[in-house]
Structure formats: structure tokens, C-alpha cells
């Protein structure tokens, strides 16, 4: 009996030696402000959906990396000899979360489905250039385009172009599966989404975090409290610029202030008097002191913008000084247009986006000085979408356009700006089929100059990326070139 006890004791002491000590699980709790309206990237273009799913759960053939460059991803390379036929060579051994290997037939299924009107893909227009999809073998697929499209590779990198297995198509909205570094573990509606590490990820050594919990805390003050109380490790999109100075002084946190593709504009209804007159639109632009707007509404955080193309775009040209603050010139232009005493107008803003109201208040104050009296009308987001965005029933409005490569909006005369310039539209069409980089850049410069000249909207500033994390969290993107809502967690890790 004594022997037995001794043996047991020895055995017990040896157990820790025999089993290698498991590394402590790396967990990450994030705060997000908005819960996604479903998790299907092929059904909604919502940023909140991209935040969770894009790059984390599902990926595309091509990726926009943290520097804004297009890099091969699920396709290890591609080639085209005529800019009309693109052949993609898929990375081998990439497995979906259900264990099955990704093949060319899956890619074909994804794009055939996107093109099918029954699918109701929100970005179907981007894929309409695809004429034929030919599977050469399990790892080679060719897209034959109807015409040259300079943006085709960018289209393949967009959130609507993620590759998923055909057998999971019915559950994309609630349980999406893909090839990403994380698998969806659970979605407690109204509370949190939990992602867990995909041990089979096709990039060796990634991801480093075992479990990511994204908690939905809509109230900015509550988010700040959760961060300070240590209940969340990072706030990704929930805090405003007013919280930043205080947190920058706090040694427990690191603050990330970066660039985004989110250009905040004051749109003018170009089809409605007095904004149908370009002199009025220019007067308004000259009447706005943009650096003061950034100071007053954004605590000085955010880059002043002069035209639509954002600084993360390779064709960005700094035009912020092209239409400087000049109230005397503004008044002169207004008088020329027949408004020597200015006029009254209504600015519709949706308080769901905090910066719209604050910016509106600063603008109302500034424009009063050139005789433009602004009445601010706050409307709820649902109403904004119906009245302003869909029906263009507005004079002025403020909103951030978060999409990358969105200059196309100005070539669409039906878009809510109602900007209708044949010259601009021609330039844009040309840029869409010009593949040579130098020639295309020239077209982009011309388009930006044309926009400055016509002043269809006032480009105010880039809404900065504001993320706050506990010290020691590494690998988050500083800038957000792939879309203002994109949160790539694949390389994130805690410092050892």
C-alpha cells in the first residue's frame, strides 16, 4: 500500500514534465460600435459586416494590404496578356473552415452566383464586365472580360468578391465560412461575436490570437468606460476625437491615429437652385475655413481635403489649397450669381454619425459670415437614406463616404449630388478602360482638377482612424486603405 502511494506520488510529480506546458491562450476583447446587419458580404455592403467577416473569416483572390497595395492572396499569382483575359493561379492547400480544399470550381461558383440577378448581390454592376469564367484545372481559372477594365483587380479584392464554399451558401448570413484566419464561433445577437483561431490557416504561423470577442457597445461614453475599466482590450471604431487627448496621456493605452478612405463632404444638391449655379457652389467652398472645421469639429484630428481622391489612393493629388478660404471672394461670387445678400438654406444631417452634426454647426457659423444662413435639420439615418440619398430631397447635407475608389459617384448624374458633367463623365469612362498606369494617373489628375473647378460638393476632411488599445497589442493596421470599416486581425498579437 505504501509502495502504491509512493508510486502515485512520483507519477503525479512527473506529469508536468511529460506533458509540455501549453502556452497560455491569447485572447482579445474588442469593442465595436455597430452590430452587422447580417454577416453575408454578398448581400450587404455594410462596413459593420466587413469589420467582422472581411479578411478575418473570408478572403478574396487578391488583397489590398495595409499599405494600400494589391497583393496576391488566395490566388498566388495572376497574368494577363491583353488586359481582357485574366488567369488566376490559386494557392494550393487552402482549406475552407469545413475542411474542404478550395478549388477553381468554387471561385467560378462565387462569381456565377454574384452575376445571377436572383442573388441580389449589392455590387453586381462591378461584375457585369465579366463575360466568361473558364476553369482550366483545379487551381487555374480565367476570367474573360467583355471589355478592358482598369479596375478589375481592385474589384477582385473588394469585400463582395470573397470566396466561400458552395455548400455553405445558405448560411452565409448567420454562419459564414471561408478561408480566413478565424472561424466564426458564435454570434450572440445584440451582444457579441466570437471568432476562434483557424488552426489550418494557409499563412503559416498566423493567426496568433486564439479567441477574439467583438462586443457591441454603441454608446461612446460606455465604450470609454469599458476601456478604462479594462473590460475591453481595444476600441476599434467607437471613440470620438474628444476622447483621444486624454487617452494619449494615459500610459496604459496606445492610441492609433491613421488615415482612412472616409472623406467627409458637404454635398450640395446640384439640381436645385441656388446650388445649380457653379458660382454659388464655389462661393460656398471659398466661405469655408477647413482647418478651422477640423479644429472645431474633430479636435484637430483629420486631414483637410481638397478633392474626392483620398490620400491612401495611389492617384491622390493634394488639392487642399486649390480653393482656399476667402470670404471676400465668396461674397463677390454670390453677388455675381444674384445673391448679394446671401440666402437661407437647410442642412440635413443624421446624428447617427456624430461628426455630421458637429461639422454642420461649425459650417453654419462660418457660412453666416458670407450671408448664407443655414438651418440645421437633424434626421434619423433611415430617413437620410430615403430622403437625401435616394430621392435627393435636400439642399445641403454632410456625410462621410467610406468606400475606396468612389470617384465613380461623380460620373453618375443620378447620384444624390445630381452632378451632371459630360466632360467629367467622359474622363471617367476613359479612366475605366485605360490600363497604362501613367496615362491613367493623368486622367485621375484631370478628373480631380475638374472636380475642384466645378465644386459639386465641398470636400472637408478625411475622418481619421481612431483606435485605442491596451499597451502591448501589436499588428493592427495604422491606416485603413481597404475601406474604413476593415479590421484585419490576422497579424495581431500580444507582445511577449
Amino acid at each position: 500500500m505504501r509502495h502504491l502511494a509512493k508510486l502515485l506520488l512520483v507519477a503525479l510529480t512527473l506529469i508536468p514534465l511529460a506533458a509540455p506546458a501549453a502556452a497560455p491562450a491569447q485572447n482579445l476583447v474588442l469593442q465595436g460600435a455597430t452590430e452587422p446587419p447580417g454577416l453575408d458580404l454578398t448581400a450587404t455592403p455594410a462596413s459593420a459586416t466587413a469589420t467582422v467577416v472581411f479578411y478575418n473569416v473570408q478572403e478574396a483572390l487578391v488583397k489590398v494590404d495595409r499599405h494600400g497595395k494589391l497583393v496576391p492572396w488566395l490566388a498566388e499569382r495572376w497574368n494577363t496578356s491583353d488586359n481582357k483575359n485574366y488567369t488566376f493561379f490559386l494557392k494550393r492547400g487552402v482549406r475552407f473552415h469545413n475542411g474542404r480544399e478550395m478549388r477553381a470550381a468554387d471561385v467560378k461558383f462565387v462569381f456565377d452566383r454574384a452575376l445571377n440577378p436572383e442573388t441580389k448581390h449589392p455590387a453586381v454592376k462591378q461584375y457585369e464586365v465579366i463575360g466568361d469564367i473558364i476553369v482550366k484545372d483545379d487551381y487555374t481559372i480565367t476570367f474573360a472580360l467583355k471589355s478592358t477594365s482598369a479596375n478589375f483587380l481592385w474589384t477582385m479584392a473588394r469585400q463582395g468578391s470573397v470566396i466561400y464554399p458552395r455548400e455553405a451558401v445558405e448560411t452565409l448570413k448567420s454562419e459564414p465560412i471561408g478561408t480566413g484566419p478565424y472561424k466564426l464561433n458564435e454570434w450572440v445577437r445584440g451582444d457579441r461575436i466570437v471568432l476562434v483561431k483557424n488552426g489550418d490557416y494557409h499563412v503559416k504561423g498566423l493567426p496568433k490570437i486564439d479567441r477574439v470577442t467583438l462586443r457591441f457597445i454603441p454608446d461612446a461614453n460606455a465604450a470609454l468606460a469599458a476601456l478604462k475599466a479594462g473590460d475591453v482590450d481595444a476600441s476599434m471604431f467607437g471613440l470620438g476625437p474628444e476622447h483621444i487627448p486624454d487617452l494619449q496621456k494615459d500610459s496604459r493605452f496606445q492610441v492609433i491615429v491613421g488615415e482612412t478612405t472616409n472623406d467627409v463632404i458637404m454635398a450640395m444638391n446640384n439640381s436645385k437652385k441656388p446650388f445649380s449655379d457653379v458660382r454659388v457652389r464655389r462661393a460656398i467652398t471659398h466661405g469655408i475655413n477647413k482647418p478651422d472645421v477640423v479644429k472645431g469639429a474633430m479636435f484637430g484630428l483629420g486631414r483637410v481635403l481638397g478633392t474626392n481622391v483620398d490620400p491612401l489612393n495611389p492617384y491622390f493629388v493634394d488639392m487642399s489649397g486649390a480653393m482656399p478660404y476667402d470670404p471676400a471672394k465668396a461674397k463677390k461670387l454670390l453677388a455675381e450669381a444674384g445673391y448679394p445678400n446671401g440666402f437661407e438654406t437647410v442642412l440635413k444631417v443624421a446624428p447617427q454619425y456624430y461628426y455630421t452634426v458637429r461639422t454642420g454647426e461649425v459650417l453654419a457659423d462660418q457660412l453666416q459670415k458670407i450671408g448664407v444662413k443655414i438651418k440645421i435639420e437633424q434626421i434619423e439615418w433611415g430617413q437620410w437614406l430615403s430622403r437625401v440619398w435616394k430621392d435627393a430631397d435636400y439642399d445641403l447635407t454632410i456625410i462621410g463616404h467610406a468606400e475606396a475608389w468612389d470617384i465613380a459617384n461623380y460620373a453618375n448624374a443620378k447620384y444624390y449630388f445630381r452632378y451632371d458633367s459630360a466632360e467629367f463623365q467622359k474622363l471617367f469612362q476613359e479612366s475605366e478602360v485605360t490600363v497604362d498606369d501613367k496615362a491613367r494617373r493623368e486622367l485621375y489628375v484631370k478628373m480631380q482638377k475638374k472636380l475642384v473647378e466645378d465644386a459639386p460638393v465641398v470636400w472637408l476632411y478625411i475622418h481619421p482612424r481612431l483606435a485605442v488599445t491596451k499597451k502591448g497589442l501589436q499588428g493592427l493596421w495604422k491606416d485603413l486603405p481597404a475601406g474604413a470599416g476593415v479590421m484585419d486581425l490576422s497579424e495581431v498579437a500580444w507582445a511577449k
Binding site: 449589392p122 445577437r189 462586443r215 461614453n221 439615418w381 437614406l385 440619398w389 463616404h401
Partner: protein, 314 residues
Amino acid sequence: MRRYILRRVAAFVATLFFVSALVFVVVRVLPGDPALLIIGAEGSPEAAARLREALGLNRPILVQYVEWLTRALRGDLGVSLQYDVPVGRLIVSRLPVTLPLTVMAAVLMAVTALPLGLYAARRHRRAGDYLAMVVSQIGIAIPGFWAGLLLILLFSVHLGWVQSGGFAGWSSGLWPGVRSLLLPAIALGLFQTAVLVRATRSSVLDVLREDYVRTARAKGVNELSVIAKHTLRNAMIPIVTVAGLQLGQLMAGAIILESVFALPGIGRLALGAITARDLPVVQGVTLFVASTIVLINFAVDLLYVVLDPRIRYE
């Protein structure tokens, strides 16, 4: 009594029918289109139009309502546009948060307001009364969301005693669940407690002036008995009436506090559904809340009989 109950059941059904029709029309007349909200400003109006068609929102309101009602009568409240989950399941999943939260706030309200109101009435126009009235005035003046934030700052950020928000769930035991609902329950119950203190005080004051209280005291009944048996029981009818109404208001208050404390309850579900124009969820939650309030009122009516045997429902 049976006829009374039958009448109440008929009124219950009629109320639900009326509320459902009203909400159905109001939500659809409101500017804002569910399809546009799902597609968002990054999509195209054409994509939104196709989605609207697919969701069946292009059909006449009456056709949509009849279809919804027919299914609701079979117990099927439809599927959430936003979450793609049956509405019934969604509501049931939120009950473990909102129900305990409301009950905790109500218990807090009762155990604080009744003694405080009684105390104030007994100390009428003395220091204790004035102090109680000042405290209750402050309670009425502080908005629940602000009280919530102050509580978070004190107990979570500075003292670190409780989590700043979120719900721990009941699976890990009773205490973690109660702990995550404690601050929201206090913030939620604060205003209603202050109101109930005042209602209790004035009702007790009225009864204390009655002849039968003077008689009881004159014949030498001890003071505890005078208060508990003669005063409080007679004062309870107006208090219960106010408290019944307050239970309904607590559910309304939960909408804001669940957002402040990031709790996945019915209130936040309703708020999110209204913002997203998730019509089946708005409809389902409204029906649920309306039924609860009707049931609370019914319970209050039944309580009258217990409190005052003279009341008969025939």
C-alpha cells in the same frame, strides 16, 4: 368572477389586435426603407429596389398585415430582416436579461421606496421628511442614462468592483449574472423609486389622517400594528396602482439603459430594430411589451381584491 376574467381576456385580445395594426401601419408609414438600410449608402438604389421586392415590401400594406396576422395567430412572428432568425426565438433569447433586470429594478424600487415613503410620512414636516423629499427630488431630476454612466465611473472604472457593461450570462452561475445587472437595475430603478417614495408618502399621509387610525391609537393599539395593519394596508391601493404603471415604465426605461450598459435585452433589440426598420422584430417586440403591460394591469386589478375585500369584480 368568471365573467370578469372572460371580459378581460376579450379586452386583452382586442388590445393586442389594435396595437399590432397600429404599429404595422405606423412603422410602414415612417420614412425609411428597410431595404435601403440593409443595402446602405455603399450599395445602389437598384440593389435596394430588388431587395425590397424580395422582402415583399412592395405589396399593399393590408395584404402584408393580413399575411402577418394569419401567421402570428399560428404563433409564427416571422423572421428578422437583420438577423435572419425567427422573431420569437430572438425575443425569448433576450428575456433572460430584460426580465431579471426589470424585476431587480422593481424589487429595488419596492424595498427602498416603501420604507422611505412611510418614514417621510411619519416624520411629516420634520427634518427626516424634508431629507427624504430632497433625496427623491434628486432621484427624479437625474436622467437614468446619466446615473448609469456615473455608476459605471465609480464602481467599474475607479473601484473596479463590477464589469462596466455587458452581460455575463446565467450559465456561469447566479452571482455573475446578478452582478452584471446590478448597476443597470439601480440606474433603471432610481427615477421610479423616487416617484414611488412620493406616492407612498402622500398615500400614507392621507390614511394617517383617517379617523380609524386615530381610533386605533386611542384604544391603545401599539404603533407597529397601527402602521402595518391599519395604515399601510389601506394606503396600498394607490401605491399598487402607481407601482403597476411604473412596471411598464421600467420596461421603457430599459431601452436606454440596455444601450448604456451594452446589455443584450429586449429594449436594445427594439431600438436596433426600429433603427434598422426590422419590421417583423418591431412588430414582435411591441406585441410582447403590450401583452406584458396588459398582464401587469390585470395582476394589479386582482391585487386590489386581495388588499381590499370589499372590491368585487362581477
